[in-house]
Symmetry: C2
Subunit: 693 residues, 2 copies
C-alpha cells in the first residue's frame, strides 16, 4: 500500500499538471485570436465583437501587453465576482443551480457566497480530523498485529484509517457517533438547500417574461377519428372540455424532407454570400465555380448566378413540399400544442386527466421550444411501454455485462486479426517494438473508445425510451450513467473483477454478507481513490478550463471552412454543461466523500479541494463560455437530492458491514436506525418539495 510520501508525489504531479493547464489557459485566453474560444458566450449574446483590427497586424493575433500576463490568475476573482442573481439572469437558473451543487448549501446571501466553504464536506473534514484521526492514529491495531506476525507492512495512511482500531474496541463508538453527526449534518444541509433551490425556482419562474410555452400544453396520443382530421378533433375536444380557457392549437407535422430542404438552402445561401463578398472586394472579376460535388469538378459557371439560380429552384421545391405537408393527412402526427388564454387554464389542463382512458389525450406542460425533442412526440402507449421494458433490460446488460462485448472485440482485434484485414501493415507490425506496443495498448484503447462512446450510447437509449424533452433525456441519461459509475467504477474498484463476476458473487451471497465483503475492502482502496480524485478531479477540471479540443477545432475550422461571418459564429462551439455526464461524476465524489468520512478521513481534503476548484472553474465557464441549449428552471434538483441520499445510504450500509467485521455487534445495533431515519428524511423531503419541481 502507498505511503504518505507516495501520495505526496502523486499529489505534486497532479498539482503540477493542473497548474500547467492553468498557466496555458491564462496565456491562451489573452490572445485575441483565441477570444472566440474562451469567451464565446459574450459573442453569442452580442455583447462582445471581434477584436478591432486597428493597430498592428500582429496585435490582432497575439497579445503583447506584458502587464496582462503578470495578472494571469485574475480570472479567478473575476469568476467569483458576479453575484448570484446576476448570474441567473446571465446564464439561466439551470447553470446557476448546477454550480451550487459544488458548494451545496451556501447562504442565500452574496457576501458569504465568496468564501467557498463547502457546506457538507468542509465541516465534516474538520470534525473527522479533530476526532477520528487521533482516535485511529492511537488505535494501535497494526502495532499489536506486528508483534504477532513479522511480515506485516503498513503505511502511515493505514494508521490514520479505521483499520488501525482493534476489533471490538470501544473506540468504534467514536466512529458511530460521527456517522450520526455526519448524516444529520448532510441531511440538514440537503434540506436547507432543497428549500433554497425551490425558492430560487419559484422566484425565477415568477420573474420570467411571458413566453408562449407558459400558456401551452403538449397533447399527445390524440385518438384517431374517422370523421375529422387531427386538427379538427383537437379543436372540438378542447372547445368542449375547456370552453373558457382554450385559445388555439398547433398540430405537429412530420416534415423531415422539408427540414432537409431548409438546411440545404441555408448552405447555398452561405455560398452565395461568400461569392458576393468576394465579388465586392474585387468588383472587376466575377467569381466562378464548378457544378460538381463541392465545386471540385464539372462545368465552370458564374458562381453568383449559379447559386442564385439554385436557391430559386430550391425555394420553389420547398414551397411545393410545404403545401404537400400541410394537406397530407399522413404527415400530421397525433400530437398538438394547445394554447390557453390564461396560465391557470393551461395549468389545469396540464395537471388533470382529459379522458377516462389515461393512454389517450395525454397532457403535459409544453417544454420550451428549444427543449422539445421532436422525434418522440408520436409514440403509441404500448410501444412506449415496450421500449421502456427493452431499455431496462438493455441498461441491466450495459451495466453488468459491459465487459463482455469489450472482451470480445479485444480478442478479435489482436495482431493476427489486424494483419489479415490490413496486410500492407504487416512489415510495420512485425517490428518488435511496434508489436509489443500494440499488444500492450490495444485492449486499453478499445476500452477507452468504449468509455468515450458510453455517454452517446446511454443518450441513445434514453431517446429510444421516448422522452419528449431534451431536459428529460438528460436527467434520464444521468440516472443511467450514475448507475454505471456506481457499479463499474465504485464497486468495480473496491471489489476487483468485472461487474458480471460481482453480480454472480452477490447473487450467491447473503444480503448481510455483501456490505461486509465490500466494507472490508474500503479502507484498503483509500489510496487508489485519492489518486483517482486527483487525476480525474483536479487535472480533469483544469483540462476543462483549457478547452483544448474546442480550441483546436475552432482554429482548424477557421483555417479551412469559414467563409462568411455566419460561418465564424457557427465554428465557435460554445458547448454547454453536459448534465448527463457531469452530474453523475459529481455524485461519485459525493459518494466517495460520504463513504470515507468515517473510514479514512485523509481522503476528505482531496474531495474538498476538488469541489472548491471545480466550483471556481465551472463558475468561470458558465459566465464566459457555456451556452445552455434550454432552460428547465432547475427541475433536476430532486434527482440530485435523491442521488446524494442514495450515496448516504450506501455509505451507511457499507459502514455497517465494516463494523460487523470488526466484531462490534453492539455497535451495529446502534447503527440500524440510521438508514431508516435517512430514508424517512428522503420521504419527508419528497413530500415537502418535489411537487414544486
Amino acid at each position: 500500500m502507498a505511503t504518505l510520501s507516495d501520495i505526496g508525489v502523486s499529489a505534486a504531479i497532479n498539482c503540477l499538471s493542473a497548474i500547467l493547464f492553468l498557466v496555458a489557459f491564462a496565456i491562451l485566453r489573452l490572445q485575441p485570436i483565441n477570444d472566440r474560444v474562451y469567451f464565446p458566450k459574450w459573442y453569442i449574446k452580442g455583447i462582445r465583437d471581434s477584436p478591432t483590427s486597428s493597430g498592428a497586424f500582429v496585435k490582432k493575433f497575439v497579445n503583447l501587453d506584458v502587464n496582462m500576463y503578470l495578472k494571469f490568475l485574475n480570472w479567478m476573482p473575476a469568476a467569483l465576482r458576479m453575484p448570484e442573481p446576476e448570474l441567473i439572469e446571465h446564464a439561466g437558473l439551470d447553470s446557476a443551480v448546477y454550480i451550487r451543487i459544488y458548494l451545496l448549501g451556501l447562504e442565500w446571501n452574496d457576501e458569504i457566497a465568496v468564501n467557498f466553504s463547502l457546506k457538507i464536506f468542509f465541516p465534516i473534514t474538520l470534525l473527522s480530523f479533530a476526532v477520528l484521526v487521533p482516535v485511529n492514529y492511537t488505535g494501535g491495531n497494526f502495532e499489536a498485529m506486528k508483534t504477532n506476525t513479522t511480515d506485516l507492512t503498513y503505511s502511515d495512511i493505514d494508521k490514520l484509517s479505521i483499520s488501525n482500531v482493534a476489533p471490538g474496541s470501544s473506540r468504534l463508538y467514536a466512529h458511530i457517533g460521527m456517522a450520526y453527526v455526519f448524516t444529520f449534518w448532510t441531511c440538514y444541509t440537503l434540506y436547507r438547500e432543497y428549500m433554497i433551490v425551490a425558492k430560487m425556482r419559484l422566484h425565477f419562474i415568477a420573474a420570467e417574461r411571458r413566453r408562449p410555452d407558459q400558456f401551452t400544453v403538449l397533447v399527445r396520443n390524440v385518438p384517431p377519428d374517422a370523421d375529422e382530421s387531427v386538427s379538427e378533433h383537437v379543436d372540438h375536444f378542447f372547445c368542449v372540455n375547456h370552453p373558457d380557457h382554450y385559445l388555439l392549437h398547433q398540430v405537429v407535422y412530420n416534415a423531415i424532407t422539408l427540414a432537409d430542404m431548409v438546411l440545404e438552402k441555408k448552405t447555398l445561401q452561405n455560398w452565395l454570400t461568400y461569392y458576393t463578398n468576394k465579388h465586392e472586394r474585387h468588383p472587376n472579376k466575377r467569381p466562378t465555380t464548378k457544378t460538381g460535388f463541392w465545386g471540385l469538378w464539372g462545368r465552370n459557371v458564374d458562381a453568383i448566378d449559379f447559386y442564385r439560380e439554385q436557391i430559386e429552384t430550391l425555394s420553389k421545391k420547398e414551397e411545393a413540399e410545404r403545401e404537400r405537408v400541410l394537406n397530407d393527412p399522413n404527415a400530421i402526427m397525433p400530437a398538438a400544442f394547445v394554447s390557453f388564454r390564461s396560465r391557470w387554464g393551461a395549468a389545469v389542463c396540464a395537471q388533470t386527466d382529459q379522458s377516462h382512458n389515461p393512454t389517450k389525450w395525454l397532457t403535459q406542460w409544453a417544454p420550451e421550444p428549444r427543449d422539445v425533442y421532436w422525434d418522440n412526440l408520436a409514440i403509441p402507449y404500448v410501444e412506449l411501454k415496450l421500449r421502456r421494458l427493452l431499455m431496462a433490460v438493455a441498461l441491466f446488460g450495459l451495466t453488468f455485462c459491459f465487459m463482455v462485448p469489450i472482451a470480445f472485440v479485444q480478442t478479435l482485434a489482436n495482431i493476427e486479426g489486424i494483419q489479415k484485414v490490413l496486410p500492407f501493415l504487416k512489415p510495420l507490425i512485425q517490428m518488435g517494438s511496434v508489436k509489443s506496443l500494440i499488444q500492450g495498448y490495444l485492449p486499453g484503447i478499445i476500452l477507452k473508445i468504449f468509455l468515450i462512446l458510453l455517454p452517446t450510447i446511454i443518450m441513445t437509449m434514453s431517446k429510444i425510451e421516448g422522452f419528449t424533452a431534451h431536459s428529460a433525456l438528460e436527467t434520464r441519461s444521468a440516472e443511467k450513467y450514475h448507475l454505471f459509475l456506481l457499479v463499474n467504477v465504485f464497486l468495480g474498484s473496491i471489489i476487483t473483477g468485472t461487474a458480471l463476476q460481482q453480480l454472480k458473487q452477490f447473487m450467491n451471497q447473503s444480503p448481510t454478507e455483501i456490505p461486509k465483503t465490500v466494507g472490508v475492502s474500503i479502507p484498503m482502496k483509500a489510496t487508489f481513490f485519492i489518486t483517482y480524485v486527483m487525476v480525474d478531479g483536479w487535472s480533469g477540471v483544469a483540462a476543462e478550463i483549457l478547452r483544448l479540443v474546442p480550441l483546436i477545432v475552432f482554429h482548424l475550422k477557421n483555417a479551412f471552412l469559414v467563409k462568411t461571418d455566419e460561418d465564424r459564429e457557427e465554428a465557435m462551439d460554445a458547448g454547454s454543461l453536459t448534465w448527463s455526464v457531469s452530474e453523475p461524476r459529481i455524485q461519485l465524489y459525493f459518494l466517495l466523500g460520504l463513504v470515507y468520512s468515517t473510514v479514512t478521513p485523509i481522503l476528505l481534503p482531496f474531495i474538498v479541494v476538488f469541489f472548491a476548484f471545480a466550483y471556481l472553474v465551472f463558475r468561470h465557464q458558465i459566465i464566459n463560455v457555456y451556452c445552455q441549449k434550454y432552460e428547465s428552471g432547475a427541475t433536476f434538483w430532486p434527482d440530485v437530492h435523491r442521488k446524494i441520499i442514495i450515496g448516504l445510504l450506501i455509505s451507511q450500509f457499507l459502514f455497517l458491514g465494516l463494523l460487523n467485521t470488526k466484531k462490534a455487534t453492539n455497535a451495529t445495533f446502534f447503527l440500524i436506525p440510521l438508514p431508516i431515519l435517512t430514508f424517512w428524511f428522503f420521504k419527508v423531503c419528497k413530500g415537502r418539495f418535489e411537487s414544486q419541481f
Copy 2:
C-alpha cells in the same frame, strides 16, 4: 406424508361439517324469529317488516310449513338469480365487485354469470390435469429412488407432484411451458377484468344521483393566519383562487363533548319512549324508576316525568355547548369541506396543487359523509410523516416478531402465575385433569386470542397512520394483513419456524438460495395446504352463512336489552364485508393456487371448489345480510390486481428455485423472462387503468 385416502377422509369430514352448517342454516333461516338475523338488509332497506302476528302464536317463532323444509337448498339458485346491474343497485358497486373477485373474469353478461367457471383457475385446473398430472405420474422418480434406498415411503399424492420427475429430466419442459401458459392466462384474465371493473366503475359513477360530496373537496392543513379565523381564511383563499367555481365551505369543529351529549340524549329518549309505550299499554299505572345508575337504586320517581325533565336539562346544556363550539376559535380544526358550483370545478381543485408549499392547503376529493374518519382530519404534515415511520417499524415488528410477545405472555400465563393472581381458583387448578388441560391448551388459546385481536391491532395501526376515510383505512389494513398472512401463514407453514427465525435465515442466505430453500419444501406441504383450504376455506365459508355469533347476540339482546322498536333495529347487526380481513384471505388462496398450479396440481380442485362455494355464499350474504358502511365505487380494485400479480411473481420465483434444485439450469434460463414480463404487464396495467380509480 398423507396418502390420497387420508385426504379423502379429511375432505369427507370437512364436507360433512360444511353440510351440517348448511342444513342448520337452511332450518334456522326459515324460522320467523330469526328473520332479522338472516335478512337484516331487507329490514334496513324498509322492504321487509316483522312477520305479521296474525295466526297462531307459535307461528310467530317457528315455521311449521313442511314444504319449505323440503326446498331447504333453494337459497342457492335464489342467490344467483339476481342479475349484476340489479345487484349493484341493491348492494352497491363495492359489494358487487367484491364477489367478482371470487369469479375473477366472468363475462359482462348475465346468462354466463350463472355458470360459475372461475376464469383463472378453472381452465388452469383442466390444463394441469390434462398435461402435468400424466407427466408427473409417469415420471418414475420415486420408483427409481426406491431401487436405491429401501426405506423410502411415498404416497399417491407425491406421485402426482413434480417431485416424481427425475432431476434434469426433459419432462420439466412441460412444467415450464405450463408456467408460461398459466401466467399468460392469468394476465389476460386480469387485464380483461381490470377493464370490465373500470367500465363498471365509470358507469356507476355516471349513473349515481347527485350527491353533495361529488361537488365537494376536503381541504386539510389550512395554514394559521394571524388576522383571520380559519373560516374566513378558507373563504378568501378559494374566492381568490377559484372565483368561477367556489360556492361555499364548511369548517370542521372539534365537538367531542357535544357528540357525547347527543348520544346521551338519544339513550334518554329511548327510555322515555319505552316508558311512554308501557304507560299506553297500561294507562291506569304510571311507570316509576329509580334515579341511580341504570335505574337500580336511588329515589323512586315517575319515570316519564323524570326522563322528560332529564332530556330538557340536557337539551339546554347541548345548546350551550353548541354555542361554545361555534364561537370558540380553538374548537375549529384547520380542515374544511369546500363545495363548488360544478363537478368540474371540484375536480380541478381536488387534482391540482393549491399552494407552492405542498404541505399546506392539501386538497382531495371529499369522501362520502359515511366514509369520513373524523379523528384524522387535522394532523400536521411532519407528525403525519412521523406516524407513518413509526407504523412502518411497528408493522415490521408485528410481522416478523409477532411470536415474541406471545411467547412472553405464554411464559407468564402458566399455572403458577394464575394461582398467584387468582388464588381462589387454586383447588380447581390443582385437580390433575384441569391442570393438564390448562397446560395443554393455554398457549394455544393465547395465540388464538392474539389472532382474533390481530385485525383490530392492524386497524388501529392504520388509524394511527392518519388516513381520512374508512375506505382508505380498510385498504391499508388489508395490505398489512396480506403481508402478515404471506409471512406467517404461507412462508411460516412452508419453512417451519417463527418468522424471526426465517428472517435470520434469509438474511444469512444469498438471494438465489432463498427461492431454492422455499421451493424445495413446497411439494412436501401440498397435503397441509389441502387440509388448510378445506378447514379454513370450505368450513369457514359455511360457518359464515350460518352467522352463529350474530344469531346468539341478537337473541340475547332481544331477550334482555331491547325495549323499543328502535332498539330492535339496532340489535339487528347486519355486519358488512370486512374488507381488511377477507380480501387478504382470498389473496392467500390465489397465491396457493398459483404456486401449486405447476407443482402439485391436485391442490387446484380444492381451490376451485372454495372459490365457487364462497361466491355462492357471499352473493347470498350481500343480497340478504350485509349492509356496507360506505360506498367507494370499487376503488380497491388496483390493490386486488397488484396483490394477485405479487402472488404470480412469488409463484414464479419459487418455481425457479424449485427447478434450480432439479438440476435444470437450461430450464431455469427459459424461465427468467417470465417474472420480467409479468412485472412489465403490471406496469402497463397501472398506466392504463389506475388513474380511473
